[in-house]
Symmetry: C2
Subunit: 626 residues, 2 copies
Amino acid sequence: MKSLHNLIEFIEHKAYALRVWSIKAPAQAGSGHPTSCLSAADIVAVLFFYAMRYDPYHYNNPDNDRFILSKGHAAPLLYAAWHELGLVTDEEILSYRKFGSPLEGHPTRRFKYAETATGSLGIGLSVGVGEALCAKLDKRDYRTYVLMGDSESSEGSVWEAVQLAEYYKLDNLIAFIDVNNLGQSSETMLDYKIKQYVERFSAFGWQVFDVDGHNIKSLMEVIDKAHQVVGKPVMIIAKTVKGYGVDFSAGLQGFHGKAFTGEKEQKALEDLRKNFPQAAAYAAQNDWQPKHPKPNAVAFDSATAIVIMENSEYKKGEMIATRKAYGTALALLGDICDAVVSLDAEVKNSTYAEIFETVHPERFFQCFIAEQNMVGMGVGFDCRGRIPFISTFSSFFSRAHDQIRMAAIGTAALRLVGSHCGVSIGQDGPSQMGLEDIALMRCLPESIVLYPCDAVSTHKLVEQMARYSNGISYLRTTRMETPVLYDNDEQFPVGGCKVLRKSDKDVACIVAAGVTLHEALKAYEFLAKQNIFVSVIDLYSIKPIYGATLLDVARKSNNTIITVEDHYLEGGIGEAVMSALCNENIIFHTLGVNWLPRSGAPEKLLAVEFIDAQAIIRFFDHMFER
Amino acid sequence: MKSLHNLIEFIEHKAYALRVWSIKAPAQAGSGHPTSCLSAADIVAVLFFYAMRYDPYHYNNPDNDRFILSKGHAAPLLYAAWHELGLVTDEEILSYRKFGSPLEGHPTRRFKYAETATGSLGIGLSVGVGEALCAKLDKRDYRTYVLMGDSESSEGSVWEAVQLAEYYKLDNLIAFIDVNNLGQSSETMLDYKIKQYVERFSAFGWQVFDVDGHNIKSLMEVIDKAHQVVGKPVMIIAKTVKGYGVDFSAGLQGFHGKAFTGEKEQKALEDLRKNFPQAAAYAAQNDWQPKHPKPNAVAFDSATAIVIMENSEYKKGEMIATRKAYGTALALLGDICDAVVSLDAEVKNSTYAEIFETVHPERFFQCFIAEQNMVGMGVGFDCRGRIPFISTFSSFFSRAHDQIRMAAIGTAALRLVGSHCGVSIGQDGPSQMGLEDIALMRCLPESIVLYPCDAVSTHKLVEQMARYSNGISYLRTTRMETPVLYDNDEQFPVGGCKVLRKSDKDVACIVAAGVTLHEALKAYEFLAKQNIFVSVIDLYSIKPIYGATLLDVARKSNNTIITVEDHYLEGGIGEAVMSALCNENIIFHTLGVNWLPRSGAPEKLLAVEFIDAQAIIRFFDHMFER
C-alpha cells in the first residue's frame, strides 16, 4: 500500500465486503445473526487486513497469529474474512448452514480456518489464554486475538480467563469486546457503560483501551498501541452499533438472530451501499499482502510419533492409589514426550499432578480454582499441538462441563483425569465425591472413558490417552490405595476388558472396575468357598466397550451379568454394559449408588451403598433363595 | 451486655470456643480442615454474636438474617457456632464426619441450620444473591451474609454473582472474603494483595471495606459501616492468617485439610490457651441475647398447598412448540401460585419465559448470560420458600452442572426447563443442541426428568413440577412445533407413560418421547399399511420410570423394545428403559444420536441420525429380512 490513506480505504472496503456477505449468507440460509456481524465487521476487517501477521495460505503455520471468534453466532464474519482472503468461494460461503457444509451455524473445526468450535458464549478467551501461554512456552512470537460479544462478558468463565491472563502476564493476548449493548432479548447488563467495562478489566490488571468500533483509523491506532504493551494482556472495548449500516435494524431491539430475507435482504444491501458509498465503489488496484509471521526456530516439534512408554515396575500386591500411579506415569510420559503439558486447579497434591510438576515445572501450569478456564486453556494448548493432561477432582469437572462439551464438538484431544471418585473417598462427604463423572464423560461424541483398578493399568492407560487424539479421553482415579493386580507387561487396549476369574460352572459374571473390582474379587473368594462360582471382569474401558469378550463370558455365566460400581446407577458402568449387549438376551443386575450419599468411613459407605463384597455375596444368597 | 468492652470480651471468648471446637471435631474424626476454620473464627464469632439479627431457637423464622458458609470445608466453624448458641451438643459436634451424623465433612441440609449444601467452591455467593433478592421481593428486612475463602474467589461463578448483585443493588447482601493467602497446595493467585481485592470488587460497583480479620473490635466496626451502606452490596476483605492461634501451623503451608490428631491436638489447644489467655479464662456471667429479627408483615405465604391448575384448552392437531406451551403454562401457574418465580439467562424469547414476564414482571428475574449464578440464585429462592422455574437452552444447563449437582446434594427443589433439545433445532449447529441433557439430569439424586411431546402434556407436567419438592425436576422442551395429541383432561403422573398404539399382533414396542414420538407415530401408520403392527409408547417421564406398563406392553410385543431419541445414546432414553427392565429378558434396540451432529434442516438431521420415521421403518425392513 502506498499510503496510510490507501490502506484505510482498502480496509473500509473489506469491512464493507464482510457486511455484504454477513447479510447474504444468512439470507440464503433463512437464519443466522447478521446484526451481530454488522457490529463487529470493522474490528474483524482491521484484524485480518491490518493487525495480524500470518500466512493465510498456510493457515497451520505455527507462527501465524491466531484469531478466535468467541461470539460464535457471528460465524458469517469469520467465513467472510476468509472469503475476502480468497480462500472461501462465493458458492462455499452461500452454503452456510446447509447440511454438509463446513460453514456451520456456529463455527466448528469442520471449517478448517476456525481455531476452535465456539457458540456457547464466554469460552473463547480461555482458549486464547491457552494459546498465548503456549506461545510463551514455545518461545514463538505469534499473538492471539479474541473477539467477544458484550453479552458474553457476564459469563464467569471470562473472568476466570481474565485473572489468569494477568497472572501469567500474557502481553501476547489481545481481546476485543464488541459493545453493541443489545443482547438476544434485552439490553446487556452494562448497556453502553464503557467506563465500567474499562474500570473492571483495568482492576484485573489488563491494559484497557476504548475505541469507536466503527472507525477504521481509530481501530488501527488502538491496535498499534496494543502492540506496544509489555507485561500485561490487552482488552479493547469497542463501542459499536448492532446492525450497523442497515438503517432499519441499526441500534434496534428485535433483530437478534434474524436473517434479512427476501425484500429485506435487498433493502439491507441498498442501505449498505448508501451508507458506505466509497467502500462500495472501491475499485483501486491494490498490492495488499498480509504481514508475514516472524519465523521462529522450531522450539517444539508437535509430537506425532506414537508414544511408547517403558513398563512400570510395580510389584503385585503393592498398595498404591491409582491417582498416585497417574502422577507417576504422567511424569514419565513427560520425559519421553515434550508435547505433554499438565494443567492443575490447585489440587495438585490430591491428584498427584505435583509429581509431574517436580520434574517438568516449565510444562506445569497452575490454573487455580477455576475449572472452566482450565479446560478452555487445554483446548488452546491442543490447538497448538500440545498434549494437555488436565486434572482435578472428578466431581469438579462438572463445573466445566459446557467447556468439555464444546471441546468435544471442536474435536479437541483433551486428556482429563478426575481423582476422588465415588463414595470411597469417605468422610469429606457428597460434595467431593465424583458420582456422575462416568455419565458426564460418556455422553460426549468420540470420548473414551477409562477406569483403572490398579497402578499397572493406570500406567498403561495414561499411555493410551497420550495416543488418543480423536477427542476427549477421561481417566477416573481413586483416592484410596488398592493392590497391584497385573504384571507390568500386561496390555490394556482401549475398548477391552480383563477376565480375572472364570470357570466352567459360573452362575453369573460380575463386571466391575476401580474399587469395586477389588470387592468383586473378595466376593469371589468367599463364594468359591461355598462352591458358588462366578466369573469376574475388570471393565477398565467403560467407553468404548468392544463387547465380544463380555458376551462370551456372560454366555458361559448363565447369561447373567451383575455390575458393581462406585457411581450413580444412571449413565454409569451398568448402563454402559447393558448398551453394549442390549439385544443379546442377557439378564442384568446392577449394584451402584442409588441415593444421596453421606460422610463416613470408606468401608462403611461401600457397605451402605451395597457395592462392597458383602453386598455381592448377599445378592447371591438372594439369588439362590429364589 | 453492659458495655462495648464486655461485649468484645464475650465475642473474643466465643471466637476462642469456635477455635477449640474447630480443632477438637476434626481431631476425633481424623480428618477435616482446622486451619481453614482458625482463619475465619473471628469473622464467624462477630457474625453470630454481633451482626446477625435472628432467633436461633426458631431457625426457620422467615425474618432471620441468613448465613451461608461458602467455604464449606470450614464446616466445623458452622457447627461450633450453633454449639455455642447451645443448639448442638458436645456429643453431636464430636460426631462430625461420622457415618449417620448430620454434621458432615462439608455442610449439607442434613444439618438443619445449614442454609444450603456447600463444599464445591464459589457457589455460596450466588445462593446469597438469590436470598437477598428474595428479601427484596418479599419486602423482608433480613440480611444475607456470605463467608467465602480467598481461593474460591477465582471461580468465575463468584464474578457472575458479583455482577448481578450490583445490578439489583442488593444492599441487604454482605459478603466476607477470608484472605489467608494459602490455598490447598500453594499460595492463592492474589496472595495478600488486599488492594487488588478492593479494586476488583469496587470496580464491580460493590462497597468494599478491608479489615484485620482477627480484630474483633475492627470487625464489629466494619459491620456497623456495612449496615449503613445503601444501594449496593458490601464486600469485606478480611486479612487473616491460616491456622491462626496455633503456632506450629499459623501462616504455614502444608496444613490444609490436616486434622491435628494425638499430641498435635493437645499442642494446638495449648497454643490457643497461650495465645488467647483472657478468652480462655473468660468466666463472666453474661446476658447476651441475639438481636431479634424485625418481624415483617407476612407479605408472602410459602405455598404448601397442592398446586392445581386448570386444564389447558388446546385443540388436538394444533401445532404448538412445547417450549411455547411451557411459557404459557408457567404464566398460568404464576396466576394461581404466588410462590412461583422465573429466572432467565437472556433467552426469554427462545424459552418463552417471556410469557411469564409479561404477566408477572415482579417475579421474573433477568440473570443475563451467567447460567452458574442463575442456578445458584435458584437455590437461594428455594431456601426462602419460593418455587423457582429456571429456563435456558438445554445445552447451556451443562454450564451450571456443578451448581445443579450441589443443589441436588442440598435437596433444593429447582425446576429446570431446557429448550432447544436435540438435532431437531437444525441449522444453528451442535453447540446449541441439547444432546446430553437427559444424561446429565438423570444422574442427580432424587431428580425427575420429564419430556413432553405436545402442548397438553407440557401443561400437565409443569403442574407436576410445581408439586415436586424433593429435588431437581427437569423439563425438556422442543424448538419446533408439534401437533397436540392429547385431550386436555389427560393425566400425566410422574413415572408413567402413555400407550398410544397397541394391538394383539405387535411385533415390537417403540418407545419414544418428544419429537421422535411423532416420528414413531408416522412409522406406525406406514407399517400398519404393510400389516406390520407395533405398539407405540410416549415415555414422557424418563426418570423415574415405573416399569409395569412398559413391561406389560413389551411382553405382548414380542419382548422387543425399540427406543428412538433425539439425544446421544449414552445416558438417554434407551439406557433409562434398559435400566428399568434390565432383568426381564427383553431385547432392546436403540436409535439415537451416535456421532457429532452438524448444521442442517431439522428434517434432514433427524434423517441422517436415523431417528426419523423412515429410520424406524427401515429398521423393521431389516428385522424381517433376518
